[in-house]
């Protein structure tokens, strides 16, 4: 039980951040709470490095929440973000859900490749391939004609 509470306190902020970035701040605390409830029930299966396992549980709950509602709340994004940041988020949003997931597990949630692979249920080698492709697609999205046009319109508006 001591171990569980230590893991809980250590990982709670990161699971919350994951839930908030994928399901919005309104649902984030509930998803985090449910994640740890499931983790407690399955405590005997909790690995020593619990974070990827917990994020894997949270990921399933986020997907379930999305299935149950026709639209889900996106993360609250500050309106005064720099242009480059807005552009990058828009390019990310134009990618497939699986590409977004691969990229954000590394860039936003600070997981290593092996940990991210564990969350997604694939091998590390497969994850590297998926990451490489997702990066390429993000780069392509950023330099696509649509974005160039959008960039121009933002500059002039």
């Amino acid at each position: 039980m001591e171990d569980f509470s230590a893991v809980y306190r250590e990982c709670y902020p990161r699971v919350l951040a994951y839930a908030a970035s994928h399901a919005g701040s309104r649902l984030a605390e509930d998803i985090t709470s449910e994640t740890f409830t499931i983790a407690w029930r399955k405590l005997d299966r909790m690995p020593s490095n619990a974070l990827p396992w917990l994020i894997g549980i949270a990921r399933n709950l986020v997907r379930e929440a999305r299935r149950q509602t026709t639209h889900y709340e996106l993360a609250d994004l500050p309106a005064d973000d720099a242009f480059a940041v807005i552009e990058l988020r828009a390019a990310l949003a134009s990618l497939s859900e699986s590409d977004q997931e691969v990229l954000t597990l590394i860039a936003w949630h600070g997981l290593g490749a092996a940990e991210a692979a564990q969350v997604l249920g694939c091998t590390t080698a497969t994850f590297f391939v998926r990451l490489h492709r997702a990066r390429r697609r993000l780069q392509a999205a950023l330099s696509s004609a649509n974005f160039d046009r959008a960039r121009e319109s933002w500059k002039t508006s």
Binding site: M1, E2, F4, S5, A6, Y8, R9, Y12, P13, L16, A17, A20, S21, S25, A28, E29, T32, S33, F36, T37, W40, R41, K42, L43, D44, A75, D76, L77, P78, D81, A84, V85, L88, R89, L92, L103, T104, I106, A107, W108, R135, L138, Q139, L142
Partner: protein
Amino acid sequence: MEDLMKDLAQAKPPTPEVDPQRMESDLARIITLPRERPARKQFVRRFAPLVVIAAVIVLAVVLMPAPPQPVQPAAPPKWWHALTRQWSLMIVGDPADPYAVSFDHRTERWVAANQQIAVIQKDGEVTPFSLDRGTEWEAAGKPEAVPQVGGDHLVRIGPMKPAVQKTAVSGFQMSLHSNARFDSLDSLPADPRELGKALETIIGKDAYRIGSLAMELMSANVRDDQRRAAFELLKTLDGARFLGDVTVLDERRGTGVAIAAPSTFQFTGVETQLVADPETGLPILKRDVITTPQHGLPAGTAISQEQYLLLEQVDFEPILPQDVPVNGEVESPIIER
């Protein structure tokens, strides 16, 4: 490409702030929930090859000369944090046809060498408890307060109001024994006999008092060897009964010991049982059980119990309910008639 990932990291949405109160209240709720029973055989069958491989790797690592490690002194933890859930029964109503009420609440204690903070009556509630699956309280018109049987007070049905108590103390004060205070828990003997002598000098030669103090020490910030000594001491007390391996609550397994307890104002023939984790010595459950049938309750019924939810060293400051004044009035559910 690397720059792209760095840029993407910059575009991370703002991380939500953790609400410490929500976090702790969720934790307290979660750890009271039942856990899945481990599928041991299946686990062993599935992971036995991995265990063998891991053992070989561990052996190889152990046999390799270890590089010198820089020594980094760890900051000592500030608080001993204990979260417990208390439940007890009280016989109420018409003495000729009594029923019971149950008190269910949590206590959270933060103990340091020179101060103690307790949140009492947390998530507390008093509810009617039928002795024979009847509806005595409903039949009595659902009174808000009911008279104790054999006592002078009333018991108020409904939610309890939490209270925060903060005291500055010198040394470690034991809550069940007002005269037991230790300048240092670390200096307590780790030998059962020596520990028994040390406790005897503080509270006298009374088996139950020594036993209950030993139980309290087991839930305090002592070392594992001291905790084990306290459990061994309990087994050697006059009239103590070793219960062996027992399963309590949601299938938690532990080792139990029972000592005869004094009568309460409503129950006689009571024994206090303590079940501890055999590996760590940390207590799991303490309960008072009647040894003879009373008030329609069969022998072996628990009339009160304390479940140890969290016993841990923490290095963060106590998280207290914001809307409860510190050292304000304690609104007890037991009131004057």
